[in-house]
């Protein structure tokens, strides 16, 4: 495929490869997306804004220049930004292919990195010489200001020009928690959302900390995607439950949406509002519980994004799709063209698809009254499901949140 090397989110030339549930493939302009969706479909997008997660600075023990790419943190909480997992590169920048980047100096716990106005200490190595847990020795406000002033969007050699935040924020970008853009959402704009409404298509969102897509190191890339925290709003849970009961489809905009929704449903039987951490891999053997179709970028075979598409349709169909992408001038990477893949009818797994989350009745510790609760609260000691919206949740789920 051709590398999309300019940061244009939506172009009149953008193409869409449509793979329907029977495996039929057609190439259409991406502007006709709305025509391929059905009234009643629930379209779910990831509304995460993207952090300027690349920080350049100095490894203080050696004085050697490093690039630190923030890659994960434990939650989406706005005040929990002092600890990150990060991938470290040596001198140089994105214009060198990640595979060819200089290695950083040997890293060890206790060493300090000066990253502009920020200082970080390496807390530990995470099973790889370039993957570290770091802690900023600054205040929360200083970390946000430092990221805003000095951070740059993570980017790769196929895009020589320096990206600005506005290049990587989708039109619906909200809370800044992603490390790389949830780029399937580049296809959305406010005009399209209005067209959805006109056609009776429901629009909903989740917030998912989309992680880095490549490290340039085969061993590290094997670990991708890292665990990614996500949050599902109550409105999205409700929209999906209603659609499920009425036999309407769930269409995910991007792989991160599939990962979050399927993670929630695999834990609770159906999608449940609240915060969780997606730690599963999705591939050919995943039985999808929620998502019926995916709009995604065009991904190269061998990436975790590409593996995920196998949950929707089989290898033969994807091979045919790859050939069309190659021969029809499709563009790849985050600013490239898109695919819309409907879940093949033989990927239907009725035994795992349910509309209602598992609940049991629990006594409320404070009032003594019996309330509805997610079943895992009974069995898991760790907070499987941290609920962030107590006001809008039933008291039962509030209980789940509070007992963490």
């Amino acid at each position: 495929m051709i590398a999309a090397d300019r940061p244009v989110q939506r172009s009149v030339e953008s193409k869409l490869l449509y793979v329907d549930a029977t495996g039929r493939i057609q190439s259409v302009p991406r502007s006709s997306l709305v025509a391929l969706l059905q009234p009643g479909d629930v379209v779910i997008a990831n509304d995460a804004a993207t952090l300027p997660a690349s920080l350049t600075g100095v490894h203080l023990p050696t004085g050697i220049e490093v690039e630190v790419r923030l890659a994960a943190r434990a939650s989406l909480a706005s005040d929990a930004v002092l600890r990150f997992n990060a991938v470290v590169f040596g001198p140089g920048d994105h214009r060198t292919r990640t595979e060819d980047r200089a290695l950083p100096p040997p890293l060890a716990p206790g060493q300090h990195l000066r990253l502009g106005s920020l200082t970080a200490v390496i807390e530990k190595l995470l099973g790889h010489p370039r993957l570290i847990a770091l802690r900023f020795e600054n205040s929360t406000a200083e970390v946000w200001a430092g990221l805003a002033q000095q951070g740059r969007p993570i980017q790769y050699a196929h895009m020589p020009q320096a990206l600005q935040l506005w290049d990587v924020w989708t039109p619906i970008a909200a809370q800044p928690v992603a490390y790389e853009p949830p780029s399937a959402g580049f296809a959305l704009d406010w005009q399209l959302l209005s067209a959805f409404a006109t056609k009776g298509i429901v629009f909903a969102t989740i917030t998912h900390a989309a992680g880095i897509s490549s490290t340039g190191d085969a061993e590290l890339d094997q670990l991708l995607p890292f665990d990614e925290p996500y949050r599902i709003p109550v409105a999205t849970e409700k929209a999906l439950r209603r659609a499920c009961r009425e036999g309407r489809r769930a269409v995910a905009i991007g792989t991160t949406v599939v990962r979050a929704l399927e993670h929630s449903a695999s834990r609770y039987g159906a999608v449940l509002a609240g915060e969780g951490v997606a730690d599963q891999r999705i591939g050919p053997h995943t039985a999808l519980r929620v998502v019926d179709a995916i709009l995604s970028g065009t991904h190269e075979p061998g990436t975790s994004h590409y593996d995920l598409l196998h949950a929707f349709t089989d290898q033969r169909v994807l091979r045919r799709a790859d050939r069309v992408l190659e021969t029809s001038g499709f563009r790849t990477h985050e600013f490239g063209d898109s695919v819309l893949i409907e879940r093949a009818s033989d990927k239907y797994s009725s035994d795992v698809r349910r509309c209602e989350a598992d609940v049991i009745f629990l006594p409320n510790a404070r009032t003594g009254r019996t309330v509805r609760g997610a079943y895992t609260s009974r069995f898991s000691r760790t907070p499987a499901h941290v609920v962030q919206e107590p006001r809008r949740l039933s008291s039962a789920r509030r209980l789940v949140g509070c007992t963490c």
Partner: protein, 237 residues
């Protein structure tokens, strides 16, 4: 106490005049407030005094807009209310249009029209997300009677505020379906540093206190948020 139930507000021009009064009023009503201003020391002082999140930035600088949006949405974990308050008078002392330097007019337009447009656009995703989650979502643009009346010597400011008022109406028309409400309000002639700059010899006793306007504006915001929202910036009783 920080909870998800508190209304999350961003105010531009938050270290003097009406903006400062709004920081004071909205923090007192229990909102989580972030504000923007240009001078680091003033920002730090106001942040400390009112327990608000201070952001150093200039809404007239294109390069600053996403940095401000990043910090606001990052620090607050989203955004329910945006108050575009920061304003530029144009030429000072005020001048007839024929005597107005183009650069002064440009600065008024960039600060009073383009800046609010850019910041609103950068935060539109956060605002719409709040609306989808039933928290309500409001953009309040500070206008002026100079946006309506043709006062001599208020050409740059008046026309920029007229543009902002019209921009507000069109935003509101377009975003109503997404649940984001837009409102332009005239706070009246207030005893503020900006007013002193415009009319140095005004009788200050006849001017409105910015705290009064801040209370009225906070009431207007509360009226546009869902009544069920317990964290809504409700009328102080």
């Amino acid at each position: 106490m920080q909870t998800d139930m508190q209304t999350r507000v961003l105010i531009t021009g938050g270290t003097s005049g009406l903006g400062l009064a709004l920081v004071r009023e909205l923090t007192a009503r229990g909102a989580r407030v972030a504000f923007v201003a240009r001078t680091g020391e003033r920002v730090a002082a106001v942040a400390r005094e009112y327990g608000a999140h201070g952001i150093v930035g200039d809404v007239a600088q294109k390069q600053n807009i996403h940095r401000i949006a990043l910090q606001a949405a990052g620090l607050l974990g989203g955004l329910d209310v945006l108050v575009n308050n920061a304003s530029d008078l144009g030429p000072t002392p005020l001048a007839l249009l024929g005597d107005t330097e183009c650069e002064d007019f440009e600065r008024a337009l960039v600060t009073n029209v383009l800046g609010p447009f850019r910041l609103t656009k950068a935060l539109l995703g956060s605002l719409a997300a709040s609306a989808r989650e039933g928290r309500g979502s409001v953009v309040l643009n500070i206008s002026s009677d100079a946006a309506v009346n043709a006062y001599a010597r208020w050409g740059a400011y008046g026309s920029s505020k007229a543009a902002l008022a019209h921009l507000t109406r069109i935003w509101n028309e377009e975003m109503a379906a997404h649940g984001v409400k837009f409102l332009a309000l005239d706070p009246g002639d207030m005893d503020t540093p900006m007013h002193a700059l415009a009319i140095p010899d005004a009788d200050r006793a006849t001017l409105k206190q910015p705290s009064i306007s801040a209370r009225e504006i906070a009431d207007a915001i509360a009226d546009l948020l869902p009544v069920a929202l317990p964290s809504a910036v409700r009328r102080a009783s």
